[in-house]
């Protein structure tokens, strides 16, 4: 619809919109995060919801204790290998559409515990992540920024077409493999449908070179 006509109509008290706009507006304005925290990042997440930073301004004050009622998972803190299956299971139990914010260095990559024997090197090895917030821990402003970025992305989603979001595409999975406890590590160690190792070559001198996917040989390795 013509923007000018739309403005003119709204002056007369007639509001016009599209189904897509209405749908996205509804989801954007009432994201319900899942009420769980894993480590110190959770303290910052709690601070974000309290009066000083007041996440309620963006429509996300309702932290749900049940995954069945939540549509945003904020992975706030270190994901230990012992905890990883439960996190993936919680994600699987959330109804679509669902989003994941990866909060802090630990949830992104394992952070300072990356080489530890009991820490998962990033939750994106098992579930798809929409936004990453670096920091150790990130400040509440960073979480709010990520939250607003997520709202922006939801607002721009198309309901049809090739770019439609995952939950509107019947072929895309909404449940992901829950890793099992193995004798030496989690099995599988990552979900190849979700995560592929970034293409990094380590030369003998110890300098790193990032290779673009076209030039790399990794295309043949994709399962």
């Amino acid at each position: 619809m013509d923007e000018k006509l739309k403005n003119e109509l709204s002056k007369q008290g007639i509001i016009t919109t599209t189904l897509q706009g209405l749908y996205n507006w509804g989801r954007t304005s009432s994201l319900w995060p899942l009420n769980f925290g894993l480590a110190c990042c959770a303290i910052e997440m709690i601070a974000t919801t309290m009066a000083r930073y007041d996440m309620a301004r963006f429509g996300a004050e309702v932290f749900r204790p049940s995954p069945r009622q939540a549509d945003l998972m904020i992975v706030a803190g270190t994901v230990t290998k012992k905890m990883a299956p439960q996190v993936v299971r919680l994600y699987n139990q959330m109804p679509e559409p669902k989003y994941v914010i990866c909060m802090g260095a630990c949830a992104i990559s394992g952070g300072p515990f990356k080489q530890g024997y009991n820490v998962l090197k990033g939750i994106d090895r098992y579930i798809p992540v929409d936004l990453y917030i670096p920091g150790c821990p990130p400040r509440p402003e960073a979480l709010l920024d990520a939250f607003m970025e997520l709202q922006k992305r939801i607002d721009q989603q198309q309901l049809t077409g090739a770019n439609r979001p995952r939950h509107l595409n019947a072929d895309e999975p909404s449940e992901f493999t829950v890793p099992r406890f193995g004798a030496h590590d989690l099995e599988p160690a990552n979900n190849p449908n979700v995560w592929k190792a970034p293409l990094v070559q380590i030369s003998q001198t110890g300098t790193l070179q990032t290779v673009s996917p076209q030039a790399g040989t990794d295309e043949s390795r994709s399962d």
């Binding site: 290998k81 012992k82 080489q115 024997y117 009991n118 090197k121 406890f181 193995g182 004798a183 030496h184 590590d185 160690a189 990552n190 190792a197 970034p198 990094v200 070559q201 380590i202 003998q204 110890g206 790193l208 390795r221």
Partner: protein
């Protein structure tokens, strides 16, 4: 608090126990007492209940892994070489079995003294890893002994609830042992250096590891 005096006091009170004074030459001078596994509980009970000692608080329990050592030395042996007796140098390797050690730090709230450091060693690192639990004596040792069981693999006999603490039940390794090799998930190391760089380049050269 004189460790020598405590040692002779325990030896008088617990007949048959073998105690060894482990001297710490550093400035801190935290000398410790190695006790034998067979009399450990009796010694611990005495330390807790003796009116002059009253070590009523076990603040810390930790483990140490002493890997087995292979020492090679050159030995001069007389041998018959081409019919003539000659002195030949030979390399002889001797393998000493390692052990796992458990360390208890004791304090007395009542007498306001401490710490007293107790040590206990297992026979080796594979089969003889049993030690008596001191949890019945000091309840505060319960979780820490579970952690040592989990990470070092020391089996505490008499522990009320000996399960893995940090790792899952199906896990089979003991991560704090020095010969533990962590799983090969070095696909992506953006700032690799030292050991991590070695593992990462090994992983990449093997074409993705697992």
């Amino acid at each position: 608090m004189n460790l020598e005096a405590i040692k002779s006091e325990i030896e008088a009170a617990v007949p048959g126990c073998r105690l060894e004074l482990v001297v710490n030459p550093s400035p801190s001078g935290q000398h410790s007492l190695r006790i034998d596994a067979a009399h450990a509980v009796a010694v611990a009970l005495y330390l807790r209940d003796a009116p002059g000692l009253r070590f009523d608080f076990c603040s810390n329990v930790t483990g140490i892994d002493w890997p087995g050592k292979q020492t090679t030395e050159k030995v001069k042996v007389s041998k018959l070489v081409d019919g003539i007796e000659q002195e030949v140098e030979e390399l002889r390797t001797t393998a000493a079995p390692g052990s796992l050690e458990v360390v208890y730090h004791l304090y007395s709230i009542e007498k306001k003294h401490g710490p007293l450091v107790l040590r206990m060693s297992t026979g080796d690192r594979d089969a003889n890893v049993h030690l008596p639990s001191l949890t019945p004596v000091w309840r505060s040792a319960e979780l820490q002994e579970r952690e040592i069981f989990d990470l070092f693999g020391v089996v505490f006999d008499g522990h009320p609830d000996l399960r893995r603490l940090l790792m899952w039940d199906e896990f089979q390794d003991h991560p704090m042992r020095r010969d533990y090799v962590d799983p090969d998930d070095y696909e992506y190391e953006p700032t690799a250096h030292d050991g991590v760089l070695r593992r990462a380049s090994q992983h990449l050269s093997e074409g993705g590891g697992r």
